[in-house]
């Protein structure tokens, strides 16, 4: 088991290196490039040349890449030019990442808690009302653009009925910050009104964000349980007279969960796309929001942190999926 994990870690490093090289080449091939982005329209040929030299952009590409990696390991990505002018790019990331984590966590939690039981029930009672309702919801869930669903929720619940807040992460309550996870902070400092406020701000965005993972997880769970129910070993278990509870838990669910775990992992990775759109609608102030802003204002320092971090998270999630795979299915470990 340990060997398996270590091997996966090494592979992870390989992918990250490949991605960092891609990111580096991408940054160098952007229109205008770093110098124009930093100097703006007032650039004179002299100032351009000076900055090019100061940034080391006149050196061979591989030297630049090595230097880039060296700085990346130390967390030095330069200062932001547009998102929060003057602030350190890595600091911006550290401050805003918890927001996205919080949002993604609740969205996935919501999706998993709803989709897996529902998918299971739908498969057990194939063709029932629950089954059909689930299928229709999941089909529509995939067809509705995430940001439109976010807007719809915001329009109905926040603007029209005024039940929930329309934007931001928290009311201005003068809360103490500990971890920048606002819900956790409130609990740690016993400022429960802060937690309550953060929770209320979280409901609509996480609901919108969970629509796609819900749809996908529901369908995979349903299909996978249906597959397993047809297996011989389930019939054998029934014939042996095992208790229904044992059959469901040990034979059906455990085997059916394998593809589900994979899918959940994939959805966590794919969540970033939805997070960019959802955070934008709700002005949530996470890295999704920041990513979009830094793209348009060409704030490359912030952009490279965010892209590396996003790719890193994606790769780590994949690693966790592989490990949980090995925990559920012993056969994987020896493969």
């Amino acid at each position: 088991m340990l060997r398996y994990i270590v091997r996966r870690m090494f592979q992870m490093v390989g992918v990250m290196l490949a991605l960092s090289l891609l990111l580096f080449l991408w940054l160098r091939s952007l229109p205008g490039g770093t110098v124009s982005a930093m100097l703006g329209e007032r650039a004179t040929p002299e100032s351009r040349a000076r900055l090019t030299k100061a940034l080391g952009l006149d050196e061979p590409l591989y030297v630049q890449y090595v230097r880039f990696m060296g700085r990346a390991f130390k967390g030095e990505f330069g200062t932001s030019t547009a998102v929060l002018p003057g602030a350190d790019a890595f600091d911006i990331f550290l401050k805003r990442f918890p927001a996205t984590l919080e949002l993604s966590f609740f969205a996935i939690l919501l999706a998993v808690l709803l989709a897996i039981p529902l998918g299971y029930v739908a498969a057990r009672r194939r063709g029932s009302a629950v089954d059909n309702a689930g299928i229709v919801t999941s089909l529509v869930g995939v067809a509705v653009p995430v940001f439109f669903l976010a807007f719809l929720l915001k329009y109905l619940f926040a603007i029209k009925w005024g039940i929930l807040p329309a934007s931001g992460r928290q009311d201005s309550l003068n809360c103490t910050r500990v971890t920048n996870f606002f819900i956790l902070d409130g609990l740690l400092t016993r400022e429960y009104d802060c937690t309550w406020s953060a929770l209320k701000h979280l409901i609509l965005p996480s609901l919108a964000l969970s629509s796609i993972p819900f749809a996908v997880i529901f369908r995979i769970t349903r299909a996978s349980v249906l597959d397993v129910l047809n297996e011989d070993y389930v019939r054998t278990a029934e014939a042996k007279g095992l208790a229904n509870k044992t059959i469901r838990g040990r034979h059906v669910l455990r085997n059916a969960l394998l593809p589900v775990v994979t899918t959940v992992g994939l959805q966590v990775g794919a969540l970033l796309a939805g997070a960019v759109l959802t955070e934008r609608v709700f002005n949530y102030g996470g890295i999704g929001d920041t990513l979009a802003v830094s793209f348009f204002s060409r704030d490359y320092s912030v952009l490279q942190v965010l892209i590396l971090a996003a790719a890193g998270v994606f790769v780590i999630v994949n690693l966790l999926v592989d490990i949980s795979y090995a925990v559920i299915d012993p056969r994987v470990r020896t493969r």
Partner: protein
């Protein structure tokens, strides 16, 4: 594991490979029938050569049997109806639309402060947009650009995937592993991030940067899918037979392997069409869409309408409804096609 990149994104890959297995039934069915014919003896002594002629009733091809099930499948029919109406609407859009979508007929009624969006009136059943253009006409003509974005994004993705997938599937060895390494790294970048990065490389956003950004994201999926089905073809009897006959390699690849490997890829393409239209809307919303709105596109209309959403949500609701219905249509059709071609559901 020798290559550090090999195991990454396995989950996603496995899903694609599962889909690739759909190409198999044709082959396993053929093998199955010859085995059963040989096993049971059949009428007369049967060699493998004439195994296909043993059945007294003519055999049903995979496509024929799939069609027989699809014909009566309400899900497929609904999807096909939506898809066909959408394509017809797109073709005849300019004829159907009551007004020119680019001319602001009601511009006189637009008051930026009090009445930014003119409401419905005679001749303009859905009202106008913020520069006085007829909303209904824009929706109708919008189907055209939406279809163009969807189709071209899918076709470009398909072409890229076909090239990479054919290369990897046709040649084993270093070509295969190099191509698949590239594909794996592409799969390990979150899709929207990839699309954003691609469109940031262009000096200014346009419809074509949008299309290319969406297409690139689809390339690795198509490539992996095609490689999987090509590999199954490579080890099949008819390719072995062709090789034994001394047929040229290129002919084997393009006439014997590729056509037989395309089925799941085409199914995937119908699903990708829906995804492309939705993705186009998302990128437009982020500001990466086509800035030229004389020829409207639904995603672009939806993206641009967000600033009016509180007072005039209809500007967002109509294009959104169109996108949802069309995406649903393509998804329904694609899913039922996939199910019909899947031998498991034939039970």
């Amino acid at each position: 594991m020798t290559n550090p990149l090999k195991k990454y994104g396995d989950a996603r890959k496995e899903r694609i490979d599962d889909l690739a297995k759909l190409a198999k039934p044709r082959q396993t069915a053929a093998v199955g029938s010859s085995v059963s014919a040989g096993g049971t003896g059949g009428p007369g002594s049967v060699g493998v050569d004439d195994a296909g002629t043993v059945h007294e009733a003519p055999g049903v091809s995979l496509i024929a049997s799939a069609w027989r099930r699809l014909r009566r499948n309400p899900v497929f029919l609904t999807g096909a109806f939506i898809t066909v109406s959408f394509i017809l609407l797109a073709i005849f859009a300019r004829v159907i639309a009551p007004h020119d979508p680019a001319i602001g007929y009601l511009i006189d009624k637009v008051r930026p402060q009090s009445n930014p969006v003119p409401g419905p009136e005679e001749g303009f059943p859905l009202g106008a947009d913020n520069v006085g253009r007829d909303l209904l006409s824009r929706l109708i003509v919008g189907s055209q650009q939406t279809l163009i974005v969807g189709v071209f994004a899918t076709v470009f993705g398909l072409i890229g995937g076909l090239i990479l997938g054919t290369l990897a599937g046709a040649f084993s060895g270093w070509i295969d592993s190099t191509v698949m390494r590239v594909v794996d790294v592409m799969l390990s970048i979150p899709s929207l991030l990839l699309a954003l990065s691609i469109s940031a490389l262009a000096p200014s956003p346009s419809q074509w940067t949008l299309i290319i950004a969406i297409a690139v994201v689809q390339v690795p999926i198509f490539a992996r899918l095609l490689r999987g089905t090509m590999l199954q073809q490579r080890s099949s009897d008819h390719v072995l037979a062709a090789r034994a006959l001394g047929i040229k390699r290129s002919a084997i690849i393009f006439r014997h392997m590729l056509p037989n490997a395309l089925g799941p890829v085409i199914v995937q393409a119908t699903l990708v069409l829906a995804v492309s239209i939705i993705d186009a809307a998302g990128l437009s919303f982020l500001g990466l869409g086509n800035p030229d709105d004389r020829a409207p596109e639904w995603g672009q209309m939806l993206g641009q309408s967000q600033q009016f959403i509180y007072d005039d949500p209809q500007l967002a609701f109509y294009p959104a409804a169109c996108i949802i219905v069309v995406a649903l249509g393509f998804t329904l059709m694609g899913e039922s096609l996939r199910e019909a071609l899947d031998p498991k559901s034939r039970r």
